[in-house]
Amino acid sequence: MDQTSRLKPYLYVAPLVALLLFVFGYPLVQIFEYSFKQIRGIDGPWIGFRNYELIFGQDLFWEAVRHNLMLLIAIPIMIAWSLLVAILLYDRLKGWKVYRIVIFVPYILAVPIIAAIMKKMFQFNGPVNEALRWLGADFLALDWIGSSDYALWTVMLLIIWREAALGIVLFLARLLNLDESLTEAAKLDGANWWQRVWYVILPQMRVVIEFYAVISVITMLSSVFAYVYIMGGGRGGPGTSTMVVELYIFGAIVRQSLPGIASAVSVLLFLVSLLLIVPLFAMRRRANEEETA
């Protein structure tokens, strides 16, 4: 193979690589640059780490981070719920194909739509509280979205309901690919349902569970904007009880004319997400290896 032939493939892909670098690389570099500047409009003076200093010294930023971390509580619940439902469906519960579709519906609906509906349902005089009052459970008729004590938990409930749908589908897909002879053998050996799940099924699902856990962590840290935007009245309310990092960035750039601050927080969020993506790729590689084996 001569020199030209070796270079040919690279030349073919070079324009697309250049385009990708322009579309994704350039904004990324720009964000890093902005994070060290006091931007007004589209540029401003270099101020070193001042934006980072200001962010780290602000209670609201740490509150937003704390809320993102609190949302991580949802992940074990999502995993447990998704596993339970997936295994029940795998056990060929009567009408399981219909249930599978019904359960996945929340995931294909746009977040703003389901969040807006959920917001109506959880109003103080909304259908949820009306039903609770009708059942005589007045003590449970809380101000779900109007009180800073409950608002984040209500958002978390919505996130669990929607995001668990993805878990169920992922887990069910894996379950349908399991070697049924192992489960059958366990059954013949006298293992009960719980023992079959714990000792036979779950070990085979370890990789997909890890994968789902990692993407859920990334979701909780950097993809909950639509949920909190709608449920928190567009501002992370009541008070600042549903403020999260993404909303903080949005507020800084769109409502406070502080692109430098927004860029600095974006850089931090990017670096944290990057740290999480590394194990995600490792897991995918391991999953591929297992499948090949």
Binding site: P9, L11, Y12, V13, A14, P15, L16, V17, A18, L19, F22, Q38, R40, G41, I42, D43, L54, Q58, L60, F122, Q123, F124, N125, G126, D143, W144, I145, G146, S147, S148, G233, G234, R235, G237, P238, G239, T240, G251, I253, V254, R255, Q256, S257, L258, I261
Partner: protein
């Protein structure tokens, strides 16, 4: 077979290369295109709060013969950022919608907006009621477009049922508390609305702070550090709100209800009093057969602005990038001509911002009465329009919500406000001097 696969792959790669090169070439050139000198762009906002404005804009640009005006309706979330980004890139529209006060003043300080005095005829500019908050350093930067009287409303039917005079809204804070007590005793929600999205708290503060300052300039000084929200004189609005909360006068669903559905509760006879906006008055009055009355926030303060009707306007201005500022000014003057003012009223059912507009077209007595007091009488600007965006987001809206929810006191709201005002100065050192100068202008 192998040959076919190789060929396909090669073709695919060639096609990818061509696609990539094409896209790269396309994006490498600026999306500049020649525009005729007589063509103007106008970025506007308002259909979102005043349905029918789109029809009005479409018709006036069609009617205007001196130039082709290309309007573009902006999304609420990006009105300011889209304009500022375009202006920073030297590509702002000729004519731009501008909210009042700080919502356009930052663009003025950045040099993105042109002064209108000298471009638009003085009498036309003055008649459009741009309000004091459009002024900086002796110049006016906005022309009024349509007015927003900031009002409180009350339901006359509920007043009657509670044994109150439906034609006499309470004017002092004590009279207001007494009316609330009567309404509560009659089993009704005396005051409130919805604060889930936060805006109710902004309005309450805007009405309340006007009673605590002698001029809008004093309100600006709360951000420059010359005055502080920790001073009880300036966090009084939140203390009054706390008083209403503690007395049980606020409607119980307030924290989970948004602003406009909250105003609907007053119109529907579920809450007796609350805040509203003048542009809603024609529809609300019609819906209740004139049973909605307008009132000024009951007076608790002793400042020079206390008890006066608050009058705000939405406006438009000319950007620094206008190709022909005189042509843009001529279009603004065209919008203030009697035929166009009449057209705005016909299309929206609301009034244009012009004190020479013939108000005899208004049929509803309640609307006429409101307009005489807010639009034509002595009025004051809306002081909440001077608050910086960061403070608005991180102090003003959260404080109102938390006081209404009973989570913090009025004094704690003041402490939060003072802390965030200090943070704003740290985050925006380049804006503080502008604010100081603006405070003097508005003083």
């Amino acid at each position: 077979m192998t040959k076919t696969t190789d060929l396909s792959r090669r073709r695919l790669m060639q096609a990818s290369a061509a696609l990539g090169a094409g896209a790269l070439a396309g994006s490498a050139f600026p999306a500049w295109r020649a525009r005729a000198a007589e063509e103007m762009t106008m970025w506007w906002w308002g259909e979102q709060e005043l349905p029918g404005l789109q029809g009005y804009v479409d018709e006036v640009v069609k009617k205007y013969g001196a130039a082709t005006v290309k309007p573009m309706l902006q999304d609420t979330a990006v009105v300011i950022s889209q304009f500022q980004t375009a202006a920073a890139a030297g590509n702002a529209p000729d004519i731009q919608f501008l909210w009042n006060g700080i919502y356009h003043m930052e663009s003025v300080w950045l040099g993105y907006v042109q002064a209108l005095d000298g471009l638009v005829k003085d009498d036309v500019l003055k008649a459009s009621q741009p309000t004091l908050l459009s002024n900086y350093d002796g110049h006016t930067y906005r022309m009024g477009w349509y007015p927003l009287p900031m009002i409180w409303i009350y339901n006359k039917d509920m007043f009657e049922k509670a044994g109150l005079d439906p034609e006499k809204a309470p004017e002092t804070w004590d009279a207001f508390l007494a009316a609330c007590e009567k309404l509560k005793s009659a089993g009704m929600s005396p005051v409130g609305g919805g604060i889930q999205d936060g805006y109710w708290g902004e309005w309450f503060f805007g009405h309340g702070l006007a009673q605590c300052v002698d001029s809008p300039g004093q309100a600006v000084e709360l951000f420059t550090g010359e005055r502080s929200f920790e001073d009880p004189a300036y966090h009084a609005p939140w203390v009054k709100l706390e008083e209403l909360k503690k007395a049980g006068f606020l409607n119980p669903e307030m924290s989970s209800t948004e602003l406009y559905p909250g105003i609907d509760l007053i119109v529907a006879g579920k809450v007796a009093m609350g805040e509203s906006i003048g542009s809603r008055m024609p529809a609300d009055s019609k819906k209740t057969n004139g049973k909605i009355g307008a009132m000024v926030m009951p007076v608790f303060g002793k400042s020079k602005l206390a008890g006066k009707p608050i009058f705000d306007t939405q406006g438009i201005g000319i950007s620094k990038d206008a190709k022909d500022p005189k042509a843009a000014a001529a279009f603004l003057e065209f919008l203030q001509a009697p035929e166009q003012l009449k057209l705005l009223h016909e299309k929206t059912g609301w009034l244009p911002s012009n004190n020479t507009f013939d108000t005899s077209v208004i049929q509803d007595a309640a609307v006429v009465s409101m307009w005489k007091r807010w639009g034509q009488g002595e009025n004051i600007p809306y002081v909440a329009n001077v608050v910086p965006g960061q403070w608005y987001e991180q102090a003003l809206l959260p404080a109102g919500q938390q006081v209404v929810a009973g989570k913090i006191t009025g004094a704690e709201a003041g402490a939060l406000a003072a802390k965030v005002a200090k943070e704003w100065r740290d985050f925006n050192p380049d804006m503080v001097d502008h604010y100081k100068k603006w405070a003097k202008d508005l003083g």
